[in-house]
Every structure is written in C-alpha cells, then in structure tokens.
Amino acid sequence: MLEYPRWKYLLVAAVLLLALLFALPNFFGEDPALQVARKDHAAISDTDARSLEGFLRQRSVHFIRSYLDSGRLMVRFASVPDQLAARDAVNEQYQGTYITALSFAPRTPELLRALGLRPMPLGLDLRGGLYLLYQVDVNAAVSQALEGYAQDARRALAGANIPVKDVALVALDTPRPNAVRVVLPPEADVNAARSALTTAFQGLTVTTESLASGSAVNAVLTTAQIRERQDYAIQQNITTLRNRVNELGVSEPIVQRQGVDRINVQLPGVQNSAEVKDILGRVATLEFRLEDMQHNPVEAQQTGRVPLGSKLYTHTRFGHPVLLKREVIATGDQLTNATTSQSQEGPAVNVRLDARAGENMLRTTRANLNKRMAVVLIDKRRETTEVDGKKVAREITDEEVVNDATIRGVFSNNFQITGLQAGEARELALLLRSGSLAIPLYPIEERAVGPSLGRDNIDKGVTALLVGMAGVFVFMALYYKTFGLVADLVLLANVVLLTALLSMMRASLSLPGIAGIILTVGMAVDANVLIYERIREELRKGVSPQAAIRAGFEKAFSAIADSNVTTLIAGVVLWVLGTGPIRGFAVVLTLGIATSMFTSLMGSRALLTLMYGGRRKLARLSI
C-alpha cells in the first residue's frame, strides 16, 4: 500500500487552487484603453466620470465601459481607432482639466479585479516604449552647495569689515572639492573672522590654518554631508522627473533610482524620445510672495475683479484660492537647499537661501510680521495640439501655490516652515528643491522599442513557449506513458504556479523572462525524470510497483535537491547583479526552481499515490 499524509494532499490542492486564482487574470488579454487623470492630481469624482462618459457618448465615440481606478478614470475600447478618437476629443475639450494617456486595460473580470488580482505587467520589450537611463551629476550638487557657502562667507566677512584675500573651493584629502577655504591677509584677526563666519558655515566643520601668505579658515563638508547632498540631488531629480512624467500622461510609468547616481525612467507606449527628453529635461522655478490679506480671494475669483498689485492663484495645494502680492521676495535659483527636520511644532522644512535673497527676506519679514507668505511653483512647458490638421505648439505655464504660512519671526536666509504633517513636509521639501537650481542630469542609455516590435516579441515568445511545452508533453507521454502524462500535468501546474507567483510579485514580464519560463519547463522535467528513472530501476530489480514508487521518490530526493542548488546559485547571482530584463530572467529562473521542486516532489507524489496507492492488485506500472 502506498500512502501519503492527508495534510499534504490538502496543501497541494490549496496551493494549486490559489495559484490558479492568481494566474487567472493573465489569460484574459487586454483592451486598448484611455486613462484620464486630473491635472491637479485630485481624484476624479463619480460625477466627473459620468460627465466624461456623457461627453464621449455625445461625440459618438464608442467605448466598452469605464471605471474609476485609484482616482483615475479608465475607459476601455474595442479598437485602437476608438481609443485615439476618444483621446483627441477629451484633449480638445478638457485641455486644462485632464491629462490623458493611452494604455491597455486588462480584460480581467470585475470579480477578480475586486479581489485585487491583476495580470503580470509587461516589460518595455513586450509592450513597446522608451527606456532612459540618466546620469545625475552629483558632484555638481556638492560644488553648488560649496558655492553657496562661499558666497555667504564673502558677505559675512564684508558685513563685519574683515578683509579677505581669497575665497575658494578646495579639495582637502579628497579628489574633488569638499571644502571652502577663506584666505585672510596677515593683518586680519582670525578669531573675529571665525566668529563672523559661524552663521555662514553652520553645520560644517570649521578649522583654521596658517599659510605662508597669511591664515585661512576652512569649512569642510564631511563624507556623510557630501553623501547627503548627493542623495538630495538624486531625490530632487527624481521628483522633478516624476512631475514631468505625470504631465506626459504616460500610464504606469516607472521612475526609480539605480545605483548611486543614476535614475532610470521607463515609459510604456512612448515613442518620440526627442519630445519626451525635451519635457523631462526642463526645469521648474519657485517664487516666494507675500499674501494680500486685505482682499478676499474667493470674492475675487467669483467677481473676476483682482485687486491692483495682486494676483489670483486658483491652483493651490490646499484647495482654496489665494491672492498674492506681485513683488517677488525670492526665486528658485536663490534657494540653495530645502530639507526636512523635526521642530518643536512637529515636522518642518528648513529652507536655505543665498545671501542676496536672505537680505530681501530679512527686509520683508521685518516689515510684515504675522502676515502670510506663500510659495509658488512655476512650470513652463510646450504643448503640441492639432488645430485644423496642423500641429500648433504653445507654451503653457502652470502656477501652483504649494505652501502658505504665517511669518512668525524675522529671518533672513535660513528659516523653517512648520505646521506640516510628516508626509507634507517631505513633499514640500522635494517640491522646493525641484524648483531650485537644477542639478544637471544627462541621458547615458536609451532604448526604444516600437509597439509592433513589442507585439512581435510577445507573439514569438508565446509561440516558442507553446511549441516547446507541446514538444515536451508529447515526448514525456511517449517515453513514460501514464507516468509521462502525470509529469505533463505536473509541468502544467508548475507553469501556473510560476505565473501566479510572478503576478503576485507584480514583477514585469520581459522577453528573457518568457525565456526563463520556457527553460523552467525544460528543467522541471528533470526532477520527474530522476524519480521515474529510479522507479524503473527499482522495477528492474523486481521490486513491487508500489514499493518502487516509494523508493523512487525517496532515493531521487538527494539528487534533485543537489542539482537544483547549483542552478539556484547562478540564479541568485544574476538576481543580485543583473538589471532590467536580465534580472527578470533571474527572478523567473530562481522562482522556477522553487515551484518545480514543489510540484514534482509533492504534486506528482500526491497524484501518483492517488492513482496507484489504493490498488491491492497492481501488477505493473505504465512507465
């Protein structure tokens, strides 16, 4: 008699059922879709959605259905021409309100979607799109910071009437500049200079040094501070790129840091790299302005009468409109840094301006204590629209008030914005930096895959997968007869399980990933072959069929485990060192080893025990 514990049957059944459920969304295919989002990043309401649907019907654009998905409206179409017609209509009618993006919506039934089940996202090589790798000039970020300190130092010394011979960026014990050196003439008082510089050099390690030509005060950025600067530079650029990408209206874009000083941007469905890079490379700017507190902004908005000397801003982060004075106190290129910290009043943003803006700020705050000051983020972009069949480019300026706070003290170039939630503080610091002096970044790698080539790649990959699997199935069935069919079922279960795992991880599927699945099919057979060959050996020795099955599984185990470990090593190394599609291959390879161990050891044993375990008179096996 051949037995297998009941809990193992249950485990196998449960795992396979779950796997089937998670893998299911991948088999429905996709429809062309239009993703509509609000320009001000607010969620689209049900009413907005209904009116958009009404608009499409009125324009007699046929769509299958539309639904809200995390604040965005997805509209699905039966064909690409419908999709394009809808995009053009929405763009034309709602230019200022909505951003549209062409995408594909999975045809997953509502029930599955409600359970949070989604198909594997496709990599750029399969759906077409643009991949860009940017190099961020992190050293420029450090130099910029040092330049700021040098400028402050000059001003501080001039204010204290201390003569200066030279202020320069120097490299102390490093290959790149990491310090500001203030060289004083012999007659200058070093201690006075040092104390005058305390505010300018706040946070830096200050040392004095005697030179042949006089003495010097050095302010050094520590390695940790340099790394912090570099991280800020990357973060700043990522924020800027994200904002840009959002305005491109790409669905499911990816902007992420890669390594120390790189950012990779993946834009599915995008083809025109020149236009994209034009938009991505642009810089926003900031303005600090006083709020006009004498007039009511809501009234100004309703009546359309804006008081003289003020400007009405309707696009704000906090929902209601504001009136701001026309005079600009400071601009983005004068902002040297914005970081978050903890103050007594909760999370705060520390803003640092250059010396000139600091003076202006000092004057303004002294005269306007307890009034309010706002920060406006200004973003210029070009938008091409089609008018009467001709492409017309026009410049659009987006102005958004990102913060509005009461002036609670007199300050100059160093101040705090408080009264924020932790998340808000972080976001504000990023927004401020994104509007400050740009840290240069340039593309060093670019890969564009046309949509038809992507389609072609999927078709080829899937064909190879199906043909390869069919070949293996037929071969196994011929070679091992009934046992071969069992192995085929187990292989199928393995592919389902692997698909389910990949879908759960939301790992994007690339062409090498498909190759990995195909390879897993080939490799997963190995475990079955090891077991079956053992069973045959045992049968040849004259062992009874059921004992042979048991011995086959037991004796093959060490060989199966061993042989998988070696492949696992290669898989893990690739996973750690690889990027992009190569990592996709590694993920599939590694997971495939795990799933094939499970299915061929537990799955096939459960099935074979079920088939042969209970039979008292089992004369021979079909193997």
């Binding site: 090589d125 060093i444 790698e445 890969r447 790649n457 070949g471 062409l511 195909i518 690739l574």
Partner: protein, 311 residues
Amino acid sequence: MEFFSHQTNFPFMATRRWWYGLSALFMVVSLSAFFTRGLNLAIDFTGGVSAEVSFPGPVNVDTVRTRLAAAGFHEPQVQNFGSARDIAIRLPPDPQQSATAIRARLEGALHELDSGAQVAQLEVVGPQVGNELKLSAVQALFFTLLGIFLYIAFRFHTWRLSFGAILAVLHDPILVLGFFALTQMSFDLAVVAAMLAVIGYSLNDTVVVFDRIRERFETNRRSAPEVVLDQSINQTLSRTIMTKVVTSIVVVALLFLGGPVLKGFSAALLIGIIAGTYSSIYISSAIALDCGLTAEHVFPSDKKAALDHLP
C-alpha cells in the same frame, strides 16, 4: 519507450584518454579563437548605437551604408535582419553626441533614402554604461563560479571529486565562449545570463552522477573505483540523456521561434547543454579517477555514519 532497453555497460573510464584528447582540442580551439578573434561584443558592452529599421520595400544594404557614411556616421555597420525590408544598423559610440542628436540624425538620413523608413527599435548605450555592464558581467561570472566552487568543496568532501567537477564546470562556458568567438555571433547581456545558467546546469549533471558514485561506493566498497564509476555513469545515463533531450526541445523551440532577440541566448544555452552533458559523463568522473579516487575518500570508515545523513 526507452533509450536503452537494458542496463547499459559502456566502458567510459577505459576510453577516457580519448575524451581528454578531444576536450583538450576543444579547449585549445575555443581559447585560441577567443584570444585571436575575440568576441563580437554587442552594444551592451561596447557602448554605441544599435537600430532596427523597417522599410516599406526591399532595401539595399550598401545604399544604406553609403547614405549613413555620407551623413557623417563613422563606420556604420548595416545588415539585413529577418527580411529584405528590415535592416539592423550599428554605430560605434560617440561621446560627443547625445542620444537625441544621434536619433535625429539617423532618422533624417534614413528618411532621405525612403520617407517610409521606420525605426522599430533604437538603443543608445553610453560608453561608460558599456564598461560597467562589462564589469558586472565579469563579476557575475566570477561570483557564480565562486559560489559553485564553495558548494562543491562543501558537498563532496574529497578534493578529487571537487577537482573533477570544477574542471567540468570551467569546460562548458569556455566552449560557449569559443563558439561565440568562432561564429562571431553577437555577444550580449542575455548571452552572459545564458552562460551562468549553463554553469548551473552543467554542474547539475555532475552532481547527479557523483551522487550515484557515492551510493555505489557505499554498497560496493570492494569493487575497483573504475568499475564503480562506470556503473554509476551507466546507471544515470538514461536520466542524463532524457533530461538533456527534453531541455533541448524547449531550447530549440526558443532558438527557432523566439525571434532574433533571443537567438544568442538560446544558442549559448544549447551549446552549453550539449557540452555540459558531455563533460559530466566524460570529464568530471574521469578526472576524479585519475586523481586516485577510492571508496575510502568518499566514505572514510569512521565517518561513514555521519555522511549518510547529508542531504
């Protein structure tokens, strides 16, 4: 169906000198091809521009080449790709020019030739990225080999088996490199991934054979090592061949149906799988034998019980 209706009994060990000779020949050819001809490195490693362009009608490769050269591109390599209407263009890296500029110039030059020309795929890799990818590929190979060596040392208790396994493991990727050097097929990142997979698979066979050797020595301590090794290889032979045939089925499907992107990848896998089968049969065990492997090395009398419980 069975490949061998009865238990085979091929005298693998007796003929091992022949196989050594054959392998030595392979190694010499592979390594000399590698060092004299080098690899045809893809832009993943060299940096540069690679484009796939489809034209509305058949296009002459030489015309495109002349056109590109006239447009100021240095050493443009132009090849037909798939069909007469599709061409692949490769340009050396140009640190002075941004990707955008290169694309614009390339499209400009091609549109002059035929306004219907469409760039289906364009890849621009900066030289520094190329160098880094080269470095990380070498690192990946190094760490995989290191991991596998450590595993072998831990697993086989005697340096005689470990040494055999290591030689077999080195044998296969060298052969793949030799194949790519000889054929000058494009060597890209995916090929490196395939080579790592090959290293893993190749050892997989060796491990299965060694597993059997250990088992045979345990039941059969009196027999001559040569006999035990032959028995072990023969007993695992049908499994070895069966697994390789099945894996080859899918790899061949990938090679012929997977499209040009996966050509190098699947070719590397196929060569590696064939080489791996051969090396695990003829190289790893034979080397162990020539290093003087006996039952005592695998199962030292006093430690026998402890070793039985290893996985």
